[in-house]
């Protein structure tokens, strides 16, 4: 298909762009296959706005006389308005945008056309291989092995080709366990807590069904992670009754009789459409212009967004606590094991593992626990808060995870190597990007699409020193400790950087950030000077002593 067919009016002049907190600008609007480009050539402030069509969530048009107005609502929650003279032009442009922003074929997406203008120093597609992670792991323990049982994606279509499993379990057993777990997602290692050798596993629900099927290999697999005489915890992200109902559909949960060494905790985390609705309500509340405090607070409350944040953080703390405080191994799963499970396991690692709080470590976490673990990004992030279509598989699961990280970040501002902008960046690219990283629903799909060969990885770009510097937290100081966030309602805030990003004037806050960076820089300079002087002093003292010794 040629994009040109979809673009009847590629260019319109005298278009006026309106954005909150910016004066209206007049300029030229151009449509290309993947971008909407607005450029104003006014002498005093020439500027260009490039908007990916895939970033457009919904579009509205209305007319006053022959002046058409298009309101574009983006997946990154920005809203812009374009006044386009001429009814026909406006209609053409609107229908083009609509068509181009809802292309259904992945291979037509921009990442397949994007040619990087930068030199690739490191190919991001191979930056975070599980093999490297395993190497790291085997330096501290030999209880685990790398299994290639899924190398052709036949055992579990949503798992990566290699996974880490207990050493004592062979591939044959894994195949059997896969048949006992929903979607073949047998328990694999998610995180190994070096401090006490405890492990966090993740899987999907066991297929016990109504007649209480069991699978010896499954029991053996997860028992292999326990120390003798110690119990482990199964954290089920569904409430008990939902887990019980799941049995009727062939699913279920680990029953005490068959798993006597495991204690099951149900920690409910909301999913799918409930989250999506909450997201939509919250964004609506943030765009409410009624200037009424009570209304805002009740809308905020009604959206339930912060409740979800609180529940999720609580569950993650619980998992982390079981591992670090109780010294127990943990198995986390919900139903499919591709959403709430990953939220819990990845957040627990943020709390427990200082490596995940570095930039590279966090990237590795996202790759390992989200991309390779088979979170269906393509489905979940197809639409954002402004979409009208009510597809049931869309949900801001990843955004919730990022926001929880932000909440922890806010409580421990010095313990993270990256800053808020880095989290916002990931949010944006998960929804619309020139990079192939977040395309597809799992590794198998990505392999079929040949993404590593045909598209550029986000990591290739972001890990270049000049980009990286934008995402560094100036007050970072490596903290090797476990960080326990507060989950009290008073400690949680709305993430302004996402939800009020386009609704607040940011100049003063940016200036404050600048000031902070300057102070840190100045402080470092002074520190360096002090060090030089100290060294000089030490040398002079040493010289003095030598001379004194020589004198007699």
């Amino acid at each position: 298909m040629e994009f040109a067919e979809l673009i009847k009016t590629p260019r319109a002049d005298n278009v006026v762009l309106h954005r909150p907190f910016h004066p209206a600008v007049e300029g030229t609007l151009c449509l290309t296959g993947h971008h909407l480009i607005f450029s104003s050539r006014r002498r005093d402030n020439a500027e260009e706005l490039w908007l990916l069509h895939s970033n457009i969530d919904s579009i509205e048009k209305r007319f006053v006389g022959s002046l058409g107005t298009i309101v574009i609502k983006c997946k990154d929650l920005r809203i812009i308005q374009l006044d386009i003279p001429g009814m026909e032009e406006c209609l053409n442009i609107a229908s083009s945008i609509e068509a181009l922003s809802t292309l259904d074929s992945v291979t037509l997406m921009y990442p397949f056309f994007y040619r990087p203008m930068f030199e690739v120093l490191e190919d991001g597609w191979s930056s975070f291989l599980l093999e490297q992670e395993f190497e790291h792991l085997s330096s501290v323990t030999n209880e685990w092995r790398l299994s290639c049982v899924n190398k052709d994606f036949s055992v579990c279509p949503s798992y990566p080709p290699v996974v880490i499993v207990p050493k004592s379990i062979d591939d044959e057993a894994l195949r059997k366990v896969a048949l006992f777990r929903y979607g073949g997602r047998f328990p694999v290692l998610s995180y190994y807590h070096k401090k006490n050798g405890m492990a966090m596993l993740r899987s999907s629900q066991p297929l016990t069904g109504t007649n209480g099927r069991r699978c010896k290999e499954d029991e053996k697999l997860i028992n292999a992670t326990l120390r003798s005489g110690r119990r482990g915890f199964v954290i089920d992200t569904r409430p008990l009754n939902v887990a019980q109902q799941a049995r009727a559909k062939g699913g279920g949960f680990e029953q005490e009789v068959h798993y006597p060494q495991w204690r099951r905790i149900h920690k409910y985390i909301e999913r799918f459409h409930i989250l999506q609705e909450s997201f939509i309500k919250l964004v609506e509340a943030c765009n409410d212009q009624s200037h009424n405090m009570d209304r805002w607070l009740s809308k905020l409350e009604a959206s339930n967004w912060l409740t979800h944040i609180k529940e999720l953080l609580t569950a993650a703390c619980l998992a982390a606590q079981c591992i670090d405080r109780e010294g127990a191994s943990v198995l986390v799963h919900g139903s499919e094991g591709t959403d709430s499970t990953l939220q819990v396991t990845s957040l627990a690692q943020i709390i427990l593992d200082p490596r995940c709080r570095t930039i590279r470590g966090f990237e590795a976490l996202v790759v390992r626990e989200w991309l390779q673990a088979g979170h269906p990004f393509q489905q979940r992030c197809a639409q954002s808060a402004y979409s009208n279509s009510k597809q049931k598989w869309e949900a801001p699961v990843f955004l919730l995870f990022l926001e929880c990280v932000w909440q922890i970040h806010r409580q421990f501002p010095c313990s993270f190597e990256f800053n808020e902008h880095f989290l916002i960046l990931l949010f944006e690219h998960a929804y619309a990007s020139q990079f192939g990283t977040f395309l597809g629903n799992n590794e198998s799909e990505r392999a079929k699409l040949k993404l590593p060969q045909k598209t550029m990885s986000l990591w290739s770009w972001v890990n270049r020193p000049e980009e990286l510097s934008r995402f560094q937290n100036p007050i970072y100081e490596a903290n090797s400790l476990v960080i326990w966030p507060s989950v009290a309602p008073q400690s949680l805030q709305l993430w302004e950087g996402i939800f009020l990003r386009w609704n607040r004037p940011s100049r003063f806050l940016e200036e404050a950030e600048e000031e902070r960076i300057n102070i840190i820089k100045y402080n470092k300079e002074l520190q360096a000077k002090v060090n030089v002087l100290r060294r000089q002093l030490a040398e002079m003292e040493a010289d003095g002593e030598v001379q004194e010794g020589e004198e007699p």
């Binding site: 905790i265 509340a285 009624s290 009570d294 805002w296 609180k310 079981c322 309602p489 400690s491 009020l500």
Partner: protein, 590 residues
């Protein structure tokens, strides 16, 4: 000392609000001015100092297995929960504290006994540190239109105004005296701030005794004189900060508001800030929300909304913004009043000045602002803060709200204030502490009668001494920002407020005023504090490690009391609340 029957009780537990198994055990001492608790169970000696004046309520709770609980709520929102072994001791402490926390006579206030070992000269110098005349000079007063007059030197015009007031030159003695008879409690229109750029003036007064039809020629002439002092604008605003309904009800009592027909070229406007009683109960509700044991998100947000606190804060902010805008953009003079013109009027006038003039955002300027708009103009600190045993209906968090509004501004304009939140908190604590003379009494005349200038110390030099630790490291200097134009959209204010839950109220990373002690203080540093503070950032982070996180139950971290272990330097009694955020050692001890 006659109230203290048991000066020392041993084996007293101090409960941690969130982790009952981590109760401290130690000794409780009662002194003439403080309750002191020494934790003997900790490795490091830990002391908790509570000033008697800060105690707002003492409750004996039902007997538990551990002993007799005693719950103390403080005016600066600190809560201490002691458990005492013997009923008699508990009762003795209880009755002593009841007496000690509610002094009856002004002479019993701490300020009259507080002795920082300072020479008489430096004490007197301290009182001269803030000179309001200099501030008027800065505005260019006296000038052709405005003069400083001592017409009130014998308090003939108004007993709650200072002896020297600024009125239009055109207003003769007869006009001033006439107007004073027409204004509630004689509080005539006087200048609060003159915006030099365009000569628009901010003036304040109390409500007119207009009733349904009364009028007063002199008062009309007074307003005319104010309007004519600003030739750049043909009209002036008269702003009544009360809700219209309240103002109308006042008419029945012979008071009320200006009739637009009687005054030439005025534009009259109601702003709708609620009265002190509404504010008091709003704070009460807010405190209840924050004292909930383990609220759900929804409980918390609903409680927050129902308290109305943020709505009131927004109303005050909106009023301040309106005044500043009228002066700056419409170049119009504004006369503000509420009922008596000492609560809401003080709030909005000082807020507007703060928005218009960067001087008031410096240490010295903020002190001047408080001296000028609050202390000199007769905000009844003694009644509003309940310094003495008196009518509980007179108590209201009016000043707290003002401080919170300032804090909100700090959030939006992080580089525009010379001082940090800690400075605000210090001031807020001392408004209640009665340790210094500044906030005693209800007006200038009252303070003269109490002879505070001879017998007590002024707070300001003590704060200036600690400038280094109270400054805002992000401050960009006097000239970086002129007028501030804050955004008061609810989600903005909310975002203010959402920080406010955690920072203002819970004194998390940013400390501020309300309830800071009620909820778990979060032991991490503010970014800006970490920049200039002596503690390394990671240390603050590490405080979280000690937090016992119980299975199945999420507990907010960190004890609500974490006090500075340093010996009794009087000011440190105050700094504990700040130090909570910085960890167990206060910066002065390092």
């Amino acid at each position: 000392m006659e109230h203290i029957s048991t000066p020392k009780v041993e084996n007293v537990k101090l409960l941690d609000r969130y982790a009952s198994r981590r109760a401290a055990s130690g000794t409780l001492y009662l002194t003439a001015t403080h309750l002191i608790y020494v934790d003997t169970s900790a490795e490091v000696r830990k002391e908790t100092w509570i000033l008697h004046h800060h105690i707002s309520s003492v409750e004996k709770l039902p007997l538990t297995t551990a002993g007799y609980p005693l719950l103390i709520h403080c005016k600066n929102f600190h809560v201490a929960h002691f458990v005492i072994g013997q009923e008699r001791d508990c009762h003795d402490v209880f009755t002593s504290l009841l007496k000690l926390s509610q002094p009856v006579k002004p002479e019993e206030l701490y300020a009259f006994s507080y002795n920082p070992k300072m020479s008489k000269e430096s004490r007197e110098m301290g009182w001269k540190l803030i000179d309001l005349k200099l501030d008027y000079q800065r505005m260019g007063i006296p000038n052709d239109c405005w003069e400083i007059t001592d017409i009130n030197k014998d308090y003939e015009v108004c007993s709650t105004y200072p002896p020297e007031i600024v009125v239009p030159r055109a207003a003769t003695r007869a006009v001033v005296m006439g107007s004073s008879r027409f204004r509630s409690r004689g509080r005539i229109p006087v200048l609060s701030y003159l915006y030099k750029e365009n000569n628009a003036a901010l003036c304040r007064c109390s409500q007119p005794l207009a009733g349904f039809s009364a009028r007063c020629l002199e008062d009309e002439q007074m307003l005319q004189a104010i309007r004519e002092a600003n030739p750049g604008c043909p009209f002036m605003y008269v702003v009544d900060t009360r809700p219209k309904l309240n103002a109308m009800a006042n008419r029945a009592a012979g008071k009320g508001y200006e009739n637009e027909d009687n005054y030439e070229n005025i534009r009259f406007k109601f702003i709708g800030i609620e009265n002190i009683h509404v504010m008091r109960s709003s704070l009460q509700k807010l405190l209840e929300v924050c004292e909930m044991k383990s609220p759900s998100m929804s409980d918390f947000l609903t409680g927050l909304e129902n308290s109305g606190w943020l709505r009131h804060i927004k109303a005050v902010m909106d009023a301040g913004v309106f005044l500043a805008k009228a002066v700056r953009e419409e170049r119009a003079s504004v006369l503000v009043h509420c009922s008596d013109g000492w609560d809401r009027t003080a709030q909005v006038c000082s807020l507007a000045s703060l928005l218009l003039d960067p001087f008031y955002r410096t240490f010295k300027g903020f002190m001047v602002l408080i001296e000028k708009e609050w202390i000199a103009m007769g905000h009844k600190f003694s009644h509003r803060c309940g310094h003495l045993d008196g009518d509980p209906k007179e108590v209201s968090p009016v000043f707290t709200q003002f401080v919170e509004c300032v804090w909100q501004l700090m959030q939006q304009f992080p580089c525009s204030f010379e001082f940090s939140e800690r400075f605000l908190l210090e001031i807020h604590d001392h408004v209640y502490s009665c340790q210094f003379g500044n906030f005693l009494g209800t007006c200038h005349r009252d303070r003269e009668e109490l002879r505070i200038f001879e017998k007590t110390h002024s707070l300001w030099p003590f704060l200036l001494q600690r400038k280094q630790e109270l400054r805002n490291p992000l401050y960009r200097g006097f000239t970086a920002y002129k007028e501030l134009q804050p955004n008061t959209l609810p989600f903005r204010c909310k975002s203010l407020c959402s920080q406010w839950w955690s920072k203002v109220i819970l004194k998390q990373e940013k400390i501020s005023i309300c309830l800071q002690m009620i909820n778990p203080p979060q032991p991490f540093l503010a970014v800006n504090e970490s920049l200039h503070g002596p503690l390394p950032c990671s240390r603050a982070d590490s405080c979280f490690v000690s937090y016992a996180y119980l299975l199945h139950k999420t507990k907010p971290p960190v004890p609500s009391l974490r006090l500075c272990p340093c010996p009794a330097r009087p000011l440190q009694v105050w700094c504990w609340s700040l130090q909570c955020a910085l960890g167990p050692v206060c910066s002065q001890c390092l």
